[in-house]
Amino acid sequence: MEKPKDIVDKAIDVLAKADVPPGPPQELTDATVAKLTEASSSFQEEVKTIKITERIKMIKSLIKFAAAALILIGSGYAIGLLSAQKTPDIEQLYATLEPAIRKKVLEDIERYWQVALASNYAQLKDEFQQQYRRDLSQFAIETLAATNAVTNQRLEQLIESINTAQMQDRRWFTAAVEQIELNRLRDKTQLSNGLESLAVQTADELEQTKQDLVLLLSYTQPSRLVPNEFRNSNNTNERSKQ
């Protein structure tokens, strides 16, 4: 028989298999990165400030050291001068002491710079790396902006040329329609004139035909039927029809 599962194991299973929405959302990621970058850079600024302060302190201590060395040398010189039985040759003493002092001070300065450079090497490397990244990002942003601007400009030009072409097409189309309309009106006028002429001619010819018929009838009818009477009888027939 299968052993019933421990309630803790069950709960762990449930929690481990719980539905988790895909994430994090992009806005949250961006906001977090921005905050972290900002906090990181401000911290670096603080560190930089501290380093500068330390450097100033080191320089101050060096100056103090140099001053103490000078005082010591000066006092030694003074003591020697005072305790000497005979007055020493100042020029000779100066010539003897100067190279030693100069050498000592130079050694101290050199040692200080070596220490300072060694301690700052890692920091300088980091700073250069960050500067390099910042420059790259800036360059990428500027390039992107420039590309966008050029693309927009090209698109605007394209839209403008399309609009111009459309306008030109529309003008041509309007001119063609106007021409067609003018042709239609002219044809209509000609047609109506022709029809009128035809109607007039037809009426004339009809009249002529009528007269010809009358004449023809006058030739074929008996002589007693004069054309006036025939005309009267025609009129009577017309009246009876009405």
């Binding site: 309630i7 069950k10 988790v20 994090p24 959302p25 977090t32 920091q123």
Partner: protein
Amino acid sequence: MQVIDWQVVVKKHGPMVWQTAYRLLANYTDTADCFQETFASALEFSRRQHVRNFSALLARLATARAIDRLRQRLQKSHTSTNLADWASVPGDNPEPVEELQVQELAANLRKALAQLPPQQAQVFCLRYLNDMSYRRIAKELGIKTNAAGVLLHRARAKLRYLLEKAAVIEERQV
């Protein structure tokens, strides 16, 4: 000082932090806050010492921040876990009673975790939810491996007691 490209870190480990936090909190807003707090803590940590394993560090920090939030919830007596976001979406097994039981069990475990001592809760979550080895947990928390085992054992015992107690109370209510 260690130079860290946070964009890469967030991109690489963000989903893991999000999963860890959401699994414990089951609430979108709390998870988002926990996400930011985790990375802020990681930044603080990186200022103090060199980070070799961001994955483990972020898992530990996310778990710790999520447990802190659970404890705050418990203190404020916000006992009802807000499951409105995704838990309300029907799963593959749409049996309502079973679904409810599962949700209740998860909520009880979260509540119980909030009642554990923080280190015990952290060891428990790292072991069972993040699948970390005892050695890794011990290294991350700065304790001995044996101590991690003891903490885990105690956490399990206390969780069992709390979960059984919660189950009995729910049965009585039914």
